[in-house]
Symmetry: C2
Subunit: 343 residues, 2 copies
């Protein structure tokens, strides 16, 4: 049977622990699922209310009208220029998986530490991947960064990134900007420049809109490469309900405005809770905070015993990421678990 | 920018007209969408009733428990043996798109005429694709067939296909069996043999269950190749609602049994309507019938003027495929449109 030499059972397994891994925490610390407060993701805990879904969205193959409706709403919401093409995918993870398969094997630099799936997926497709700390550290043809970065919230100005895209294009390469969390920092977005050669911008629907189960993401960029992505996903890549809900939510400017305000107030409240426990955030955005603490593993375990899940990072044993507590009960429990000392 | 030499704007565009293309018919023949009877697909017109969807399925990243629940239900429903691996994808089209990217470029024979996306997707990934009419016509490493075939309902016995899979494995290749419509012909399924080397079996959830908008499909096969597919799709490939609805529907044996009976009665009723208009089906299954008629285009246009959409085929100008009329009104209108002569 076909088995290319480059196949590796370890590398080809998805990264296990990047949010949503509540199952293992329950297995270790017990409790019913409903008892747990999951602060391990950067997903908005106050989701967009799921609207009425027409029966056709479930029963029919998603048609061109539904796809066009969503695409128009996405172009408007993300401020895509006329010369940028867009492809719609079942989640931004699906885009991160597919893009590396559509360019010839080359050198790829990923600016990090960041979301681990970028490096894994480029390596999985056979590229030569290196981790860099700064955008000027490498001459690789492909440069990948997350803006604002996850988990530390590091940001790059659009003008700086446009220049980088030009540099990468001149190398015959690409700048890939993952804007999975950019809804809470709108000015950083490079989508308005997404028609230029050598630039691909990824957007995630589920995080800011709190509907991560929907699986909906977008890539903006030059027509040829985006056309290849669209062809690779093929027809009906996105579910009918996702097309419908995405179109409605992306068009709801009042909800978006109110949610940005709500998140901008919630993040400082989380800071105060962390500060009261002697934890100073070293970075983050309005959807999460990153803290540095020598005994990060011990603190995560203590929170686990209180059935609160936070995010740890392989290779960064002194970091924890906290998502926003979804309600007053969760806030009280988080404060108590942080303050009580070991139990 | 990266643009491989093999890129072709024509080949890389999805096949436009393979069902669900109601938009163009409306543009040509007018009428509101609700006026149209769409018989152009092989999708069951009596969908599985969408169950209550827990809020978590929308808001959280689909977790291992949800994926495991669906996978177990699928293994039981499709009769997968213990040594077969399974990957879950957002539609069987997504599997058809991805598989060709995971095997080294080689010769591929597609037994047809059949669902056009197979040949397109293997070609898109750079393989050397030929159309064959019979399984013994080619020595290609990869042999692809649809069982039962779409649109003519042609069937291969599992014993014959097991032998073919062994032959393909001995060539260092694969037999790919697309069982998108096998729910109405359960004995043809090769899933019970899916652990053997050189065999990949694809299943589609949306057609028999009438929920094509959900985007859910499965591939069964040997652990290594299926593992590569799973890695290529990555985490959270399928939406939370699809995991939930799929699990419930695939476990509902009473509904499945009753639906098979209903479809088995409906197909002969369609035959009678066609026969009364002088149309003799030359093939099909309980979800659709294929007819041969010299003036197929003229008949399709006449039906279009009655706002009834049937399926035409590029390269087979004397064939039309009819899906099942969904209700009495549709039955009456189809009979009238077929009988009235030109209008």
């Amino acid at each position: 049977m076909f088995l290319p030499a480059e196949f590796s059972p370890i590398r080809d397994r998805p990264v296990a622990d990047h949010g949503g891994a509540l199952d293992r925490a329950i297995a270790r610390f017990g409790g019913a699922r409903a008892d747990w407060i999951d602060l391990s993701t950067g997903i908005n805990p106050w989701p967009y209310p799921v609207p009425e879904i027409p029966a056709d969205a479930w029963t029919r193959l998603p048609d061109a009208a539904a796809l066009d409706g969503l695409t128009l709403a996405a172009r408007a919401f993300y401020n895509a220029p006329g010369d940028a093409a867009v492809t719609v995918a079942p989640g931004s993870q699906a885009l991160i998986q597919m893009l590396p398969r559509l360019v010839p094997r080359t050198q790829v630099a990923v600016v990090g530490p960041t979301y681990a799936e970028h490096a894994r997926c480029w390596a999985l497709a056979g590229h030569d991947v290196q981790a860099v700390e700064d955008v000027d550290e490498s001459t690789a043809a492909i440069l990948v960064l997350v803006n604002p970065n996850n988990p530390d919230g590091r940001q790059w100005a659009p003008a700086r990134l446009s220049a980088l895209a030009e540099r990468q294009a001149a190398r015959g390469g690409l700048l890939v900007v993952d804007e999975a969390f950019a809804e809470v920092v709108p000015p950083v977005s490079l989508v308005p420049q997404a028609g230029m050669p050598g630039l691909i911008v990824l957007r995630s629907f589920g995080k800011f809109f709190g509907l991560a189960g929907l699986r909906l993401g977008f890539a903006f960029g030059p027509a040829e490469l985006i056309g290849r992505m669209t062809a690779a996903f093929g027809p009906w890549a996105v579910s009918g309900p996702a097309l419908e809900i995405g179109r409605v939510a992306l068009s709801d400017r009042d909800w978006v405005r109110a949610m940005r305000t709500r998140l901008a107030a919630a993040a400082p409240s989380l800071d105060a809770i962390l500060a009261a426990a002697g934890l100073e955030p070293i970075g983050g955005i309005d959807l999460y905070r990153l803290v540095r603490i020598a005994a990060a593993g011990g603190l995560a375990d203590r929170l686990g015993r209180h059935h609160i899940l936070v995010r740890r990072f392989d290779g960064q044993p002194d970091r924890l990421r906290f998502g926003l507590p979804p309600d007053e009960d969760a806030t009280v429990r988080l404060r108590a678990a942080l303050m009580n000392g070991d139990d």
